[in-house]
């Protein structure tokens, strides 16, 4: 029965310490969250830890979660914060606005060359962009989150998200033009 309950009901139960309800939320959201973190953080082996820390932070903060945002949005927001923290730890002197490292290049050997090359190029391009730009791009273009929700996740304004998306789209349109059929 728990599987059929909406996020908000499960979150209310988890607020009171119902770990079975929280486990359903983990099962429901961890796969997408893990993909999102892997797409925006350069070291694949650290991503599981970032997602685990995200859920632990959610469990700790749930008693004060006031349901002003959707549970999913709140979770992505926590994951985004944990990813930024991890990026800062990797480059204590660095600048989050310049991320030169390549993000994990997605599907590896055994994939068809057609999309492996495209995804590798896409990942390379996004990896060179600041974290908010690549996170906003994935959340909007692939996860189809509304602009307002992305603004909540990234702790910024809707106008800022629109600006980030516009610049990212323009850059990708130029650099990935060779892959266009």
């Amino acid at each position: 029965m728990l599987d059929s309950l909406p996020d908000e009901t499960l979150a209310r139960r988890a607020q009171r310490g119902d770990s079975a309800a929280f486990d359903v939320l983990v099962v429901r959201h961890a796969p997408a969250l893990l993909k999102f973190v892997r797409q925006t953080y350069p070291v694949a082996s650290d991503c599981d830890d970032i997602v685990q820390e995200t859920f632990i932070a959610a469990w700790k903060a749930l008693p004060t979660f006031a349901f002003r945002a959707q549970f999913r949005t709140w979770l992505y927001s926590l994951a985004s914060r944990k990813t930024i923290d991890a990026l800062r730890r990797r480059r204590p002197q660095g600048d989050l606005d310049a991320a030169p490292e390549a993000v994990d290049a997605g599907p590896g050997p055994g994939q068809r060359a057609e999309y492996a090359d495209f995804l590798a190029a896409l990942d390379r391009e996004l990896a060179g962009m600041p974290y908010p730009a690549r996170a906003a791009w994935w959340l909007r273009e692939v996860y189809d989150l509304p602009i307002a929700e992305i603004a909540t996740v990234l702790h910024t304004t809707e106008g800022s998200v629109r600006g980030l998306l516009q610049r990212t789209r323009k850059r990708l349109a130029t650099t990935l033009a060779e892959f266009r059929p």
């Binding site: 309950l5 009901t9 009171r16 770990s19 893990l34 008693p63 055994g110 789209r169």
Partner: protein, 170 residues
């Protein structure tokens, strides 16, 4: 906007749409390859390990309950315990009327229970022997009895809410 700027805007929008569509398509293909590609097969075991790790960590972080006064001096009940008790006590009567208790929400003000909201889910869309109103009311009375036995008081406002109806094939 000039014609050149419009062309540029349209070209970017078209390219952006193509890139997004291709990424979604390729991401979907990657998922379809999960069974054969070891890298994506790892994701499944990674998720399983994650689930276990999270369960272990949160088991060491118990919730703090809000204390509710009872009619008997010196005895209190936490809102966590009372919600669990109500959920368990209402499970059978709910099942007997083709329903399930999704959640029991409690409002506690100054250590006093002021409201109980019973969230119900109807099971199946078959014709019912009694109405949702009658079944909801019966469950409210069952909840009042549990409160009486646990707190010695059932003055809190009790509301039964039919949140959803689960039908076969959903």
């Amino acid at each position: 906007m000039s014609t050149a700027a419009e062309d540029d805007y349209e070209a970017t929008a078209e390219a952006a749409a193509w890139i997004a569509a291709a990424t979604r398509k390729f991401a979907g293909l990657a998922e379809m390859d999960a069974a054969t590609d070891p890298r994506w097969a790892e994701t499944s075991s990674a998720l399983s390990a994650l689930r276990t790790g999270i369960a272990q960590r949160i088991s060491a972080l118990p919730r703090q309950g809000k204390m509710i006064r009872t009619a008997r001096r010196g005895i209190g009940v936490s809102h966590i315990a009372l919600a669990k008790l109500l959920t368990a006590a209402l499970a059978e009567p709910a099942a007997s009327v083709a329903a399930a208790v999704a959640d029991v929400e409690l409002t506690v003000t100054d250590h006093a229970l002021t409201a109980v909201r019973i969230h119900l889910i109807g099971i199946g869309a078959d014709e019912r022997a009694r109405t949702y109103l009658q079944d909801g009311d019966a469950l409210r009375h069952d909840a009042a009895q549990v409160l009486d036995e646990t707190l010695g008081d059932h003055t809190a406002e009790i509301t039964a809410i039919w949140d959803d109806v689960v039908v076969a094939g959903r």
